[in-house]
């Protein structure tokens, strides 16, 4: 199971839209070329920066969710670093966090069941809960 990373980066606000798209396509092909998967890409739009970067007060935020290994991330970061319109980027590993959240959710659901139902039925319930939770999880991730 490969790791999941979120790469968020800021491009300069005066960059034309089509060039940004070109950059995204290039990044995407890089990811797929290295055996990774682009799970989501989201243009979060123009936003006021919390502090000025160089001479920019605003930035265009882009969020990329990718699945892949460490070398891939390394390569992407290198690519972003040499891409001149990219002002800043951050990579955050998310899979462990997702795992933790799933666990918490399951625990919470199980607890809820035990409160509602009697302890005997609660024994049988957690398994279906896990089953229905599993298919529903990847669905939002792939979209």
């Amino acid at each position: 199971m490969e790791r999941i990373y979120e790469v968020m980066f800021i491009v300069r606000p005066d960059m034309p839209e089509e060039e940004l798209d070109k950059l995204l396509v290039a990044l995407e092909s890089q990811v797929t070329g290295a055996g990774g998967v682009v799970k989501a890409k989201e243009k979060m739009g123009k936003r006021r920066l919390a502090y000025s970067l160089g001479r920019f007060q605003d930035g265009f935020y882009v969020l990329l969710t990718i699945e892949g290994g460490g070398p891939l991330v390394h390569e992407i970061e290198r690519r972003l670093r040499v891409t001149e319109p990219v002002l800043k980027f951050i990579t955050v590993r998310m899979d462990e966090e997702h795992k933790r959240l799933d666990k918490m959710k399951k625990l919470r659901d199980a607890k809820k069941r035990t409160v509602v139902a009697s302890p005997v039925t609660a024994e049988a319930v957690p398994a279906p809960v896990a089953a229905e939770a599993a298919p529903s999880e990847p669905a939002p991730a792939t979209t």
């Binding site: 919390a50 970067l53 955050v92 959240l101």
Partner: protein, 126 residues
């Protein structure tokens, strides 16, 4: 120090009541102490169901927002949420003021630092 907001002004009356007993030993913290104590007195949801003022050493129990609202994940992208836990100056608000539990404070502060890195939150507001 230049922002004595509503918080600290209400805090002053609180200090008159009971502050003497509590802050007696902690004078060494310097000027900051006065302000932080002002914040400590009324709990964060200011103007909410505040404690009855009558009793002397009364302090309303602060609860962790994340535990109460069952927010598991603290994400660096959620600026709205994180903003509640930074002071106006951009500093991370200490636990004793916000009432966040240790576990969640750790996550909040990590998320704030990530958000700072990508210019979603300021490092400092002069």
């Amino acid at each position: 120090m230049a922002e004595p907001t509503g918080r600290s002004s209400t805090g002053h009356s609180g200090t008159g009541h009971s502050g003497g007993g509590h802050s007696g030993g902690s004078g060494h913290s310097g000027g900051y102490q006065g302000r932080s104590e002002g914040g400590a007195r009324p709990p964060r949801p200011a103007g909410g169901p505040g404690g009855p003022g009558g009793r002397k050493f009364f302090r309303r129990k602060k609860v962790c927002k994340f535990c109460v609202e069952k927010i598991d994940g603290v994400n660096y992208k959620d600026v709205r949420l994180l903003q509640q836990f930074v002071a106006e100056s951009g500093k991370i608000t200490p636990r004793r003021l916000t009432g966040v539990c240790t576990r969640h404070q750790r996550r909040v502060s990590a998320a704030i630092k990530q958000a700072r890195n990508i210019a979603l939150l300021p490092f400092s507001n002069r």
